[in-house]
Subunit: 786 residues, 2 copies
């Protein structure tokens, strides 16, 4: 956990007021900049000290062997790992004879500010060398939303007190030494020097370029830079390059108060196909466009892009400044992860770190896209277009597994499965229904018919076909899906997981509906009337187990007969359980890592009565330990729905502060995109009660004590909506688009030009006692530290 | 499969009448010699060509890393692999200028005979070199049953036709190059040169000695040899040694018809503790004792040992010469695996090859020991004493897994778990009940009360404690064992596996009974009355699921609701299924690799009615594909019991000929001890209907068409029994020991001096059609090839 008050609470920024070198890796994640294509961790300009140096390009990975002590048919033999590509953010500084390094000399001040409206990371340092040479350094860094392949840094040095010799080295460096994330020496070896040099052209004519290739995956990466220098007369600039370094050295002498300014534009390109000269030219061209815009132009475009985003996405939270900051921080990083995807995936950590090897999971479709769909829908479309682009691989995988349709990978970068533990990987087929659900949601929210035809329908059909291969009718005519793994990773390979079965049911129905609406296209994709009939029948007969004795749904068939985990005998130091107990023990007992049945209550709410929801929620609360970041937000939503607003509020805090407070102690590896999304979800779907589908958006707002006003903006079917909730009343406003019919606590409301205000009702009475396993109650929050 | 008529069918030997170099590795396994301590594969004396060179010492292993693509708590980090130790059987021959190598020159004749009564492997060769120099070579090899650490070879060369220069090199060679059995380069590297030289003393004073240590496991291995030479005058003998070779070179000139004879005695010792000089002296001493016996003495002792064995173990099968040979071949190899264990394990392949890394599994307790218990009980005791010796490690493992009692490893050499795939390893807890069952069976068969107190009771208590940790009562008071894996490896991690639950029940009851009979000792082992009460209660409430609709027992809870495997759509080339289908698909469907519920029908027969047995057997026959060698014998036993004698006979053939016909195409890696045992089991427990327990031995003999007479000998409670079955009558004889009451088809019979003859009834009528999955019927047998 980030133990000290690391970040100042402010509505539109995240500020670190002094440097904490012990949590450097965590702050590098928090201060990461990205546009979904390029990702720069918040490493210090001068490169050292660092927690984890990181410069990423979406989908640039290296292959590594996946070793098994005992192999098996269909096990992936090769894994993919995100590669730390050429570091373009490196700017070294020599002050008199002394390298600027915060670990030496005296740091008089060190501030970093992530500005959520400007889209920049500003750093201000005042530092004296061990010999007393003092400088002010200010750097402003951005990864452009408008120039997809461009990042830029304005770097300023000012001499304080006495004249100083200043040397600035602006660099591109490849194959930085990265702390090993794997215990497998072969994998580590494969990733030690991932980039093979193909070209290193010094910036003699203004632009320095390096081109590399990855060793196994054969991806070509080009990085280029252009440095514009503004210094006193006599400032000398010298480009050079050798090995994996491309450098521009700027030497000058500053009088006291004198300044040297460097505007560094750097650009990336990568390709599996394009030649070295083509890649070279590509980055040179990108830099030309960036130079045309200039530093000020880039900054202005950045702000305009963000203004447009916030206009449709902002969430205002009065009464809780910490949550206010956190939800905007989360939305900002979600935008960063998705803005310029262009048919590439959103990884579990976005491009903020190398955690989970840079892989994308179901988190994207189930947690991240629901937010982007209503706030920045193009990003959701892009992420799903990536799924469609890897569908051929998913179909091959299905064939390999003896199935039909597509079997999307549990974790991947390039579309090939690289989960090395099939009970919690391949067997978690629900990822396919999650993709289908994201498709359905996006189409409902945007009416994007081109997407529906070109991307949505093929995805819906191929996933529906998978469920036909996975399901079968039993003697009583029930449609069963046996031997699969649901969301909860403390259970695996069980029969009739309720979440999976209900999501498969939605998947089948969506495929039927969409295929029926586009009969021409469906026919082209080989869908017959017989096939849609099978989908319809499978959905209709879908088996949803229920435990009559307990009056609850078992997470999977038989779950409620299992022994309940010995929570009383489990100490706080034994969490997360997976690090202290074997899987066999977790799997065979009633203990839940993360919302599973409860996620079904949220996403498939129409399949449960309010009474069932209340009883199910209470039952699973007592079993859920939240050893996963994919849980608190869902629990928050359902706590709000069943009426425990205080608990919902507590879970909101946990989801929202996951990374700003490093609650799971792994923010160093990158931010938790799903949990960042969870803050929005807990507020909008939880306290806002927002549910949408079938062309209808519904709200059921209620506020907990502590939030005095909640306002959020949404995009839905061409409308821009604003909902403003206070304890007494809720006001709906149409900020853009044609009139629309909404629902407020089940009551229809027609919204046109005029705002509509309706009372915010109190929460329903709670009939069941809700408690968590001992010691697993949501953590109490330290409010508003400075 | 050994495609050609490899071996002559003969009652007391296995003869290969010419050399088939394409199946060299298979014949090396078939012709392996062992005494349970030393194992020599049937490699040619001259070392090359070879399939897999192999010289093994029981429990000499090397450690190797177990890599996981995704690790987990409690996963073993280190594996163990049997090591090919110093090869002492190597004798090279130079004929004039030409090395004797069957791949060159002309092989006029090559015969190898494994003599099951003499306990020797005899080889007779007539060979001409490319230049026409002709020799007769005869070698006789034995691994002594009476001198545990000694093996010997008599090697004779005769010049044919013309005078010849003959050079014989008798060697000890360490770190032979062995074909890699692993795809993991690190593991392969670890095993490439496993032995580090500590001493190499040439045989200047008669005995040559080499001492090595294994690199990681730190085991010291000493090998010594003494060569006695009988050749014409002028024969020169020269010892030398260097590197990993210790050599005695014998040079002579033979006139036509002249002979050189070499008697090579070689001895092994190993220790984790003893010093190099101590190990040196140990092998020198063993060789002194062997020399005292001399070649003829060793051969005579070997025959006496085997005569004694066959007197209590022989099975006679009239009417089927192939089965007659196979059952004796199996018994011989079982004796070889178990004779001189002395608290070491019997591996799945014995000491005949490096398959399964030389690991011991539950096969030993469940398939091998039931045979040895009634034929060579000391070996059964030794194998169980090994289990007792590793109990401390099994208890540590239980603690690591959060359990109580002992959790014996799924696969191991040194007692530590080295299964790298927990769903089919750690989760297969039934191994613990299998050990307990073997204890109970041995004590019942021998009344060995010292064993019961010192070995049996601690094993029964610690395994009973495990079941108490694994089981729990559900709301209806049933005792459930959830999330474990039964014998069938095409299912895993399911609830209430009937085999596991019934075997756990027996385990608990045996612990109660034995603890009650030895209250003093039980108290010392911490057993309270409360604890035995818990065991009793758990056993009494043990849940055995039953499918009322189908009228059969599900293998595990829910099994019969799963989809039935698409057998019709599975081609013959897709077996074994595990090589062509993913585990997730096998696990979720009704398809059975090997007897599981059917093994329960055999071992826990008292828990099923005859009608249930018939219906269960028929149900599982239609689902069982026998992709494991641990199945046909059990299916044979149950087919006989339910009355399908023809089917029982077919399965007998499959079990009995597994290795002699290489039915599973992996005899090259070593023999299948369990399947070799299965021939006996199918004959004695199947057609003999033998069941024993609680001091009572019962028979229910019936013969299939094709076997005209079946006779077998058994040891039980100090008696030596002979049962002789013909289609019309069964005769029981007491060959030794006090009178005893037996049972014949449920009828009591008192057996004293006089033989008792009773009618052999016909099989009961079959009420159910019994069929296998298409294409998985037992293979038709080629009878009596020569």
């Amino acid at each position: 956990m980030i133990q000290h008050p690391a970040f100042t609470v402010a509505p539109w920024s995240v500020r670190e007021s002094r440097l904490h070198t012990d949590v450097l890796a965590q702050t590098e994640s928090v201060f990461a900049l990205s546009n979904g294509h390029i990702g720069l961790r918040g490493n210090l300009d001068e490169g050292e000290p660092h927690g984890l140096p990181g410069t990423y390009l979406n989908s640039v990975y290296e292959l590594r062997p996946l070793p098994y002590p005992e192999g098996g048919y269909g096990y992936p033999e090769s894994g993919q790992t995100i590669v730390n590509v050429t570091n373009g953010k490196l700017i070294r500084l020599l002050v008199d004879d002394e390298p600027f390094d915060v670990r030496y000399g005296t740091l008089h001040g060190h501030e970093r500010v992530l500005d959520l409206r400007a889209g920049t990371l500003v750093r201000r340092v005042r530092w004296s060398s061990p010999t007393g040479a003092e400088v002010r350094v200010t750097s402003t860094r951005l990864v452009s939303f408008t120039h997809r392949s461009v990042a830029a840094i304005r770097y300023e040095v000012e001499a304080v007190g006495r004249p100083l010799n200043i040397v600035v080295q602006s660099e591109l460096v490849a194959n930085e030494t990265v702390p090993s994330m794997t215990s497998d020496p072969r994998a580590a070896a494969a990733l030690e020097e991932p980039l093979v040099l193909e070209e290193n052209t010094p910036a003699l004519t203004g632009v320095g370029v390096m081109v590399h290739s990855t060793r196994q995956s054969r991806l070509r990466v080009a990085a280029g830079m252009r440095n514009e220098i503004d210094g006193p007369e006599g400032t000398r600039v010298e480009p050079d390059g050798g090995g994996h370094v491309n450098r521009v050295t700027v030497a000058t002498r500053l009088r006291p108060g004198g300044r040297l300014r460097l505007d560094k534009f750097f650009a990336y390109g990568w390709s599996a196909k394009r030649s070295r000269p083509a890649m070279h030219d590509q980055v040179v061209a990108a830099l030309a466009a960036a130079r045309l815009a200039g530093w000020d132009g880039l900054c202005a475009e950045q702000r305009r892009y963000l203004d447009e985003f916030w206009a449709g996405a902002d969430v205002e939270v009065d009464g809780d400044a910490e949550i206010q900051q956190a939800v905007r921080f989360g939305l900002f990083h979600l935008l960063q992860a998705g803005a310029r995807l262009e048919r590439r995936p959103i990884a579990g950590k976005g491009l903020t770190g190398s955690g989970y090897d840079g892989h994308a999971f179901w988190d994207t479709e189930s947690f991240v896209l629901p937010v982007l769909t209503y706030t920045h829908p193009q990003a959701a479309a892009d992420a799903l277009c990536w799924r469609e682009s890897i569908r051929p691989l998913a179909q091959e995988r299905a064939v390999q597994l003896g199935l039909t349709g597509s079997a999307f990978p549990w974790r991947t970068i390039n579309g090939e499965e690289c989960s090395g533990y099939w009970p919690a990987g391949t067997a978690a087929f629900h990822v396919n229904a999650d993709i289908a659900d994201a498709v359905t949601r996006y189409v409902d929210a945007t009416e994007d018919s081109r997407f529906e035809r070109e991307t949505g329908l093929p995805l819906l059909i191929s996933t529906a076909r998978l469920w036909c291969a996975l399901g079968h009718h039993d003697a009583e005519g029930r449609y069963r899906i046996d031997g699969v793994t649901g969301p909860d990773e403390y259970s695996a390979v069980s029969d009739n997981n309720v979440y999976t079965n209900l999501m498969a049911q939605r998947n089948l129905r969506a495929a039927v509906d969409t295929a029926t609406r586009h009969p021409d296209l469906a026919e082209k994709l080989g869908v017959s009337v017989e096939e849609t009939a099978r989908w319809r029948d499978g959905a209709a007969a879908m088996f949803v187990p229920y435990d009559d004795r307990l009056g609850v749904h078992p997470q999977s068939e038989g779950f409620t007969s299992h022994a309940v985990w010995d929570f009383a005998g489990t100490g706080p130091e034994q969490y997360p359980l997976l690090l202290h107990f074997p899987y066999f023990d977790l799997y065979r007992k009633q203990v839940v890592k993360q919302a599973d049945l409860v996620l079904a209550l949220h996403l498939c709410g129409e399949s449960f009565t309010p009474d069932q929801k209340a009883r199910d929620f209470a039952y699973y609360e007592a079993l859920t330990v939240r050893d996963s970041s994919l849980s608190a937000c869902t629990q928050s939503v359902m706590a709000a729905e069943v009426g425990d607003l205080e608990l919902a509020y507590a879970y909101l805090g946990e989801a929202a502060l996951m990374d700003l407070r490093d609650l799971e102690h792994n923010t160093r590896d990158g931010l938790h995109m799903a949990s960042l999304a969870g803050a929005w979800t807990a507020l909008v779907a939880g306290f806002g009660g927002m549910r949408a589908g079938g062309g209808r958006m519904c709200f059921a707002p209620r506020l907990p004590d502590g939030i005095t006003r909640l306002a959020f903006r949404l995009r839905y079917r061409g409308r821009l909506l604003k909902v403003e909730v206070t304890p007494g009343a809720t006001t709906y406003r149409l900020l853009g688009g044609r009139p629309i019919t909404l629902s407020h606590h089940g009551e229809e409301l027609h919204l046109a030009q005029e705002p509509v205000t309706l009372p915010t009702p109190a929460a329903p009475a709670l009939h069941t006692e809700i408690r968590q396993p001992p010691g697993r109650e949501p953590a109490p929050r330290r409010h508003g530290t400075a």
